[in-house]
C-alpha cells in the first residue's frame, strides 16, 4: 500500500487542479457548500462535471443524476475486472470498490488481468483530500482564478491518462490494439450517444483486439 500512496501523489496533484476547476464552475450553479459535499460523497470527476452541466443548463434532478451515473457506469466493467483480486467479506469488498479511481485502478493493473488491490487503495488515498480540498479552493477562490480553462486545466487529465496508457501498451501488441480500437469506438460514438456511453462501449475493443490471436494455431 505504501508504494501505492507514493504512486498516488502525482494523481492527487492532477486531481487537485481538476477539483479547483470543478469548484470554480460549480459555485455559481450549486452554491458554496454543495460542491464540496458532492466531491466528498460522490468522489468522481467526470460524473460531477456531467451532473453540473445538466444543472447549469436547467435540467432536472433525474437528468443530472442519470448523466452522472452514466459516466460512472464504466466502474461496472472496471469493478468486474478488479473483482477476482478483491478478497474478504462483502462489506470489505464494497469498500475496496469505493477506492476505484481511473488512474489508481489503471496503475494497479498487473499482468494476466490481476490487480494489486493494496496498491490501488494506497494510490487513491492522497487523491481524496486533494479532490475535496481542491473543490473547496475552487469554490472560495473562483473570483481570483476566473475561467479555469484559460489555465489549460482541462488538458491535464487527458495527458495524465496518456502517461498511464504508455505504461499499459508496453505489455504487448494486444494492449496496443485494444487502445487503438477503444479510441476509434469512443471517437465514432461520441457525437451519436449520450456522454458516458462511448467510454463504456470502448470496453468492447477488448474482444476485437483479442480475436486474431485466438485464431492462431497454438
Amino acid at each position: 500500500m505504501r508504494a501505492g500512496i507514493r504512486a498516488g501523489v502525482p494523481i492527487a496533484f492532477a486531481s487537485l487542479l481538476l477539483a479547483i476547476s470543478f469548484g470554480v464552475l460549480a459555485q455559481p450553479v450549486m452554491g458554496s457548500v454543495a460542491p464540496i459535499v458532492m466531491s466528498a460523497v460522490v468522489f468522481a470527476g467526470s460524473a460531477q462535471f456531467a451532473a453540473l452541466a445538466v444543472l447549469a443548463a436547467g435540467g432536472g434532478v433525474a437528468a443530472a443524476v442519470l448523466a452522472g451515473a452514466l459516466l460512472n457506469a464504466r466502474y461496472l466493467p472496471m469493478g468486474v475486472a478488479l473483482a477476482p483480486s478483491v478478497r474478504g467479506r462483502p462489506l470489505r469488498r464494497a469498500l475496496v470498490g469505493q477506492a476505484m479511481v481511473d488512474a489508481s485502478w489503471a496503475m494497479a493493473s498487473r499482468r494476466g488481468g490481476r490487480f494489486d488491490v493494496g496498491f490501488m487503495v494506497g494510490a487513491t488515498l492522497p487523491n481524496y483530500p486533494a479532490w475535496v480540498g481542491g473543490t473547496a479552493i475552487g469554490v472560495l477562490a473562483g473570483d481570483v482564478i476566473g475561467d479555469p480553462d484559460r489555465l489549460g486545466l482541462d488538458a491535464i487529465f487527458p495527458a495524465f491518462f496518456l502517461a498511464l496508457l504508455v505504461v499499459e501498451t508496453r505489455r504487448g501488441n494486444e494492449a496496443v490494439a485494444a487502445a487503438a480500437i477503444g479510441a476509434i469506438i469512443a471517437l465514432v460514438l461520441a457525437p451519436l450517444t449520450p456522454p458516458g456511453v462511448p467510454v463504456i462501449a470502448a470496453c468492447a475493443a477488448v474482444l476485437i483486439a483479442m480475436r486474431p490471436q485466438r485464431e492462431e494455431p497454438a
Binding site: 458532492m38 468522489f43 464494497a94 495524465f160 487502445a179 471517437l187
Partner: protein
Amino acid sequence: MSDVWATVLALALASAAIRASGPVLLGGRELPEWIRRPIALVAPALLAALIVVGTFTGDEGVLELDARAAGLAAAGGFLALTRGSMVVAVAVAALVAALVRLAS
C-alpha cells in the same frame, strides 16, 4: 430538498452502488483463463477512450480540435522523447493548452 441537494444525494448513492457491485457480486472468485485475458485489456481500451473523449469532444459530444489537443500532443511528445515523469508531462500539457488559448 432543493434540486442541487437531491442531485448530490442520489448521485452519491448511485456511484457507491456502481463501484461496489463488481467486487461484491464477483469478488474473490478465480475467473477462468478465457475471461482473464480480455480483462487484462480493459485498462488500455478504457484509458484510450477517456483520452479521446476528454480531448476531442465538447458539449453534447461534438467533436472538437482545440487547445486540449495541442496540450495532449505536447505531453505525448514529451513522454516519447524523455520518458520523463507523469507530473511534468501533465504540466507541459496544461502549459501548452494555456499558451494556445492565449494566442488564439
